[in-house]
Every structure is written in C-alpha cells, then in structure tokens.
Amino acid sequence: MDTTKIASTNGTTAATTGRPSPLAGVGTWADERLGLATAMKKQIRKVFPDHWSFMLGEIALWSFVVLLLSGVFLTLWFTPSMAEIQYEGSYDQLRGIHMSEAYASTLNISFDVRGGLLMRQMHHWAAMLFIAAMLVHLMRVFLTGAFRKPRELNWVIGGVLILLGIVEGFAGYSLPDDLLSGTGLRIADGLVKATPVVGTYMSFFMFGGEFPGELIIPRLYIAHVLLIPGLILALIAAHMLLLVYHKHTQWPGPGRTEQNVVGYPLLPVYAAKAGGFFFIVFGVCATMGGLLAINPVWKYGPYDPSKVTAGSQPDWYMGIAEGLLRIMPGWETHIFGVTISWNVFLPGQIAPVALLMMVLAWPFLEAWVTGDKREHHLLQRPRNAPTRTAFLAAMITAYGLLWAAGGNDILALKFNLNLNYITYFMRVAIFVVPVLVFFLARRWCISLQRHDNEVLLHGYETGIIMRSPEGGYSERHLPISTERAYSLTARDRDVVVPDPQPTDGQGVRDKGYPVRKLRARLSQGMFANNVQKPTTSELEEAHHHAEHEHELEHASGMDRPADGHQFDGHADHTPDEAPLRGH
C-alpha cells in the first residue's frame, strides 16, 4: 500500500501525517458538526430506475428553476404599481402615452434593459412549459398507476402544484398591465362577481373597490413573487422528499420486485443525467425565448377598459375555462330582483374545478372500488388498466375540445370556418366525443391485452410465411424470451367484486347494501371486461402444444427455406445447412 500521500516516514523515525487537502478538511469539519456524510451516504447511494417517462416530472422541476432565475431578474426592474405615468422609453409607437408604471416598466424591461426581453420571453415560455410538463407528468403517473399506495399523498401534492401553477401563471400574465392582461383580469372579475350572493362583495374586496382600481397589481405581485412561489417551493420539496422516501417506482421485469429498486445510483450516473437535463430544459427555454415572440405587450398597448382586441385569449392552461365560457348558452335566473348568472358561474367556477377534481379523485375512487390495501412499487402498463386509461383519454379529449372552443375565433379565421357553427358543434361534442373516446380507448386497451396473451401463449409473429406440403399457408410463431414473458406476466389478476346480497343469512336487511352494490357495479364496470393473464397451466399447455407444432414443422421441413428440390432427390445439401433465421 502506498502511504506516501497521507504519511511520511523514512523507516527510522516515527511517521508524521501528511497535511490533509483543504477540501477534505472542510469536509471533515462539516461532517464532524453536521453528520452529513452519514446522513447523506444512504441518499447518495439511492438508486433511480431509468425510463424516459420518469423524466417528465424533471421537465417541470427544471422549468420551475428557470422561472425562479428569470423571475428574480425581472423583479429587479419591474415596478408593481398602477400609478399613472407618461412613457418616455425607446419604443416609438407608445412614447408620450399615459400608462401604469407596471406597463411602463415592462416596456422598459423589454426595450431598455439589456437582455430584458429575452428574460421576459424565457420567463413566459418557461411558465407555459412548467404547467404543460406538470400535466404530462400527471398523465404518466395516472396511466401507470404510480399513484397507488403508498404514493397517494404525493398525487395530491402534485394536483395542488398544478392548481398553484395555474394561479401563479394567471397572476404573472396579469402583471404587465397590458390590454390582454387587463382583459384577463376583467374576466376574472366577472367570474368572481358571478358567485351567487357574495360575488360583488368578493370582487370589491379583491380589487379594493370598483374594477380595475389601483390595488390589484401590487396585490398580484406579492402573490406572484412571494406567496405562491413559496408555496410551490415548499410543496416541491415535500414532493421530492416523499419521492426519496418511497423510492421510485419501476417497470416490472426480471429481478425487479415490489421490494427492490433496480437502476443507477444517484451519484454519479443519475445526478449527471438529471443535471444535464437541467441544461437542456434551460436551453430549450432560452432558444424559445430568443427566437419566438411571446406576449408582445408593446403591441397590445396599455390596458384601457374601453378597448379590446380580436384574439383575446388567456395562456393555454386557462384555455379550458375560456372554452367553457365561450360555448355556454346565456342562461340566467332572475329571482327576488337578483340575477344568477349560470352562464358565467357554471363554466367559469364550477366546471373547470370539477374536471380537475375528477382526475384528482380517480385514484381514491379506484382504491375504494378495488379495496386494495397493498403497497405497489411496480408500475402497470396503461393497457392493463383499460378503464383508467380510457378515462384519462376522455379527459384529455375534453380538455383539447375546450381549448379549441376557447380559440374558436382563431380556428374560424385560420381554417375558414363559421364561428357560430364551431360553437354549436362544441356544445354537442363536449358531451359526446369524450364518451366515444372512452369506449374506443377501452376497447383498444383490451385488444392490446389480448394481443399480449396471444404472444405469451403462441409466441411472436416472425413474419415468415410457411407453405405446408398440402399447399396451405401459415405464419411461423416463435416463443418469446423468458425475460419478456416475465415482464408480460408480472401483473396481478383483477378481482371483480361480486354483487352483494340485500339481506344477510338471517334475512336481516343489510344497511350498507346500496353502497356495497354501487361498489360492486363500479368494480364490474371497471374490470369485468379486462383480459387476465394466462394461468400457469394454460401457459404450459400452450408451450407443450407449440413444441409439438415445431417438431411437426421440423419433421416436414417447414422451418427451413425450400430450394425446390426437396422431393425430387436433387437437393445439393442437407436442409440443416440452411437454417431459417437466427433469432
């Protein structure tokens, strides 16, 4: 052992220890006081499985980091005030116009602060990506059943993060006080006012008087740069801690069980990958911010309640509320001299929240129906939960339709359609199309399950067409690898809850009967049509059968290419010299 680095001795005098490296010194100093090495050892060696879909959450995380960085830059120049001033900056077309300080400072950031416009655009693109990435991440978690015990809490945290992200984004694009943000605030004001009974009070409370007032932007500013980012940060921290505590889920496969995690240790591989991904997300934000104009506030002009522009839409994540508002018929009720605006209240307040809640509540509904109390660390393939997958497909469809309805004027303009007809179509489609998609997606999943079973039992399709001596054609199937077969069969059989009895054995009416019946019905609806994996005996029988087939094929020479001479005695070589295909 070479000790020259840590101690020096000539063999006669006592050894003196070498000077520790300064870095090691700091490490030791910290470790002796904080116990970090011991505490971190376990975390550093934490293992993360590898799959592209596990990185979707990271897109959200890293775009949030980009938001923090660019947002802090913006705060250095942004003035959250609605006090009126005269613009004297570099943008010619608005010079001399009276506007709020907030709008003027946004123009200032755009035109007179070096790199300001890039930062504004990066901030805005990152905001769009942040929420989109959270939704894509949610889809992954939903489709793979990663929300199941013990991760329900993290599912709820994720849902709250999405809500907060949307509110944060809304607050953000209201800050510049341009025509579009003012129009957005006006709609928010309308939504609040549509609350029965207390609406007007709430609106006056929010705006500190009549809309727009002088207070809303300073208030939104504090919410935007402090309150909500703080909450988001705390929830992200909780989200990550829970992730580390639960460990990451993984796809089933050989060697992967409910008790272990197979993947790379945090250091160095996973950290390098994740860290590298940050730079990619940053790069995409910077590229989009540099090349694609987003929210050109100088063209909208300062907010003025008397103005409006064609193409007034919110950012995409609010598009669903916009769509609901646009397709809702103008229903109102007048009672006791009060108007209840269902036309705003329902689509603006009730429906969007209800849609999000339906998705967020699904895991709990599913857990109640299955009664499954086990922990799950192995993921499910989307096809193996057909009803769940179909439900999300329907929700995504509804979301897409509503977003399209929110952009009905743009669709009409760009595709030469009739604005009114788009609205009529959407009014029907929003109820019909998601249902169609639901059934279609479910059928699709079930067919895929059936296909999996086919592959398990009869092998995969080789694409080799065989002709039997009788002249019939068939495709050659070969057994799949054991690993693949393992992965395909590593799933539980669905348990369908049978119909309960209305009375117990003694003929006493069961009080919980309606609830139990509902649960049984739901269970049947969710799982009865699913295809279950083959049983061991089915598999064995199929393999036995396949071996027999292959023997027969081999005996009749069907598993080798024919040279045309097999029956005339002129074959130049034995059939075994020309194997059919290596596999």
């Binding site: 077309q93 989109a132 272990n260």
Partner: protein, 290 residues
C-alpha cells in the same frame, strides 16, 4: 323640300360608291374639328372628358355590375323582403368603388358571408370610369389623394406624434375586429375581418371612409382625415419596425403561443428525455440493486 329630297336622293345614289365612306369620314372630322375649335374653352374640355368618363363607366357598369346593382345603380331587391342581390350604390361615392373594385372584391363572384379580396378584374382607367359613374349617381366620399394619407411635410417630431396617436386610434377603433397586430379576426357566421398588415394606404383610407361590408363606417365626422392618416402611419410604422421578440407565430396571440409551447417545447423536451434515457454508458451492465 322637293329639291332637298331630290338632292338627298341623288346623294344617296352615291352612298355605296367607293369613296363615300372616306368622304363621310372627312366631313365628320371637319365638322367636329370645326365645332371643337369654336366651342371648347378650357373648363368645358374637362367637363366633356368627365362626362365621357361617366359614359364609359356607365357602359362598363351596365356590362359588369348592373346585374346585381340595377341599370342605374339603384340596387335590386330579392323576393325576400330586406334582402338584396346588390345594394343601391347611390351616394356610396367614388371611394367605395375604388376600394371594392380596386381590391378585387367587386364584381362579387358569389353571395356569401364574406366578399373576399380576389384578382382585380378592371384596369386602372376602367376603375376610374366606374368610380366616376357611381359618383355621378349621388354625392359620396371621393377617392382620397396621396396627400390625404402621407406624412409628407411634417417635421420628424410631428410624424412621431402622428404614429403614436394613430396607434391609440387603431387600438380603440380597429383591433376589436382586426386584432392588435392587424392580423385579422373572425366575424359571426363565417365572415372575417381581413388582415390589414400590408394593405395599401389608399385602401386602408377608403376602408375607413366607406365601411365595406360588415365593417363600421368611419366618416370624417367620426375619425377626422388627420386621424385616418395617423392610423395609416401607425400601421406602416409597424411594418418598418423589426419583430423585437422574434418570430411572431402569425401575430394571433396566446392560442398560437400555447400550440408552440406544446409542439415545440414539450415535444422537444420529451424527445430529449427519450434520448437521455436511451443513452447511457452502461445500459445493461452495472445496475445496482438497493
């Protein structure tokens, strides 16, 4: 009388003679030439050519437009009360014709929610003739001249002020239909307000003056001629300023931005995620079990 008859009869005997055509032509030329020199002072000369223009316009109108607008531009009603094949053009003025025919909207190809721009069917002189004819039907706005919408003769400062004022007028009066960037917007029942970016100043002026189809009419009482000039100055200034933010994605607002966020942003990032997950120095070896 008899003498006259006789001489006429004698003349008519020669009417098919080889030189008759020539003689008549010469006589005609002599006569008009003589009359012209005698009767035509300078002003009457213009009135003459105007009348000619109107006459020419009327001819063109009878061929190309009267089918819908009536022999005298009085409009043609359909059997359904309140509906017209073509509205009355009495009083719409030369500006309306110059706009409608100069942008190819008229003659209308087919009825519908929108009268779209299309290839211009008439030459410039013909359009002038049509405009003169319609203007002769009743007083209406005249075709604006270049001075009406150019900033010529203003100081640098006044020009800048004009652009700023024009921007505010545009945002107040036009963006509701034409969008903040002049990219156009949808109107009910399949109609649309077209893109105004890149439209010739004369037609912008005439559009404001005459309010084509579903567009409001901004008379000089509503928007003074200077205001109209300023709007045009603003629209033109937008074309000469660079797109500061980069590619504008059509200048139609947040819907396009959202689309790009998903297709370009999320699309590329998911692509990168797939790429990263697929590329590892040690894909199959060295996986650690914990």
């Amino acid at each position: 009388m008899r003498l006259l008859n006789r001489s006429a009869g004698r003349l008519s005997q020669h009417r098919r003679g080889p030189l008759a055509g020539l003689v008549v032509l010469l006589l005609g030329l002599l006569l008009t030439g003589g009359l012209y020199t005698v009767l035509a002072p300078a002003q009457a000369q213009k009135a003459e050519s105007d009348a000619e223009l109107v006459a020419k316009g009327r001819e063109l109108f009878l061929v190309g437009c009267s089918f819908c607008h009536g022999q005298n531009g009085e409009g043609i009603s359909t059997a359904r009360p309140g509906y017209q094949i073509g509205p009355s053009l009495v009083g719409v003025g030369a500006a309306a014709v110059d706009f409608q025919v100069g942008t190819g909207r008229m003659p209308m190809a087919q009825p519908g929610a929108q009268v779209p721009r299309k290839e211009v069917q008439y030459s410039e002189e013909e359009i002038a003739a049509l405009a003169a004819y319609v203007a002769s039907l009743g007083p209406g706005p005249a075709i604006p001249s270049e001075q009406d919408y150019s900033l010529e003769g203003l100081s640098e400062e006044e020009r800048e002020e004009a652009v700023v004022r024009g921007g505010q007028i545009f945002l107040t009066n036009c963006t509701a239909c034409h969008n903040f960037d002049g990219s156009g917007g949808a109107m009910p029942q399949g109609g649309y307000a077209p893109q105004v970016r890149g439209v010739e100043p004369k037609y912008i002026y005439e559009a404001m003056l005459t309010g084509p189809q579903a567009m409001d009419n901004f008379t000089n009482g509503n928007l003074s001629p200077e205001m109209k000039r300023d709007v045009i100055a603003y629209l033109q200034s937008l074309e000469t300023t660079p797109e500061y933010g980069g590619f504008g994605m059509g200048g139609i607002g947040p819907v396009a931005e959202g689309l790009f966020a998903w297709l370009v942003g999320i699309g590329s990032l998911v692509g990168f995620a797939v790429w990263i997950a697929a590329h590892t120095t040690r894909t199959s070896k060295d996986k650690v079990e914990a």
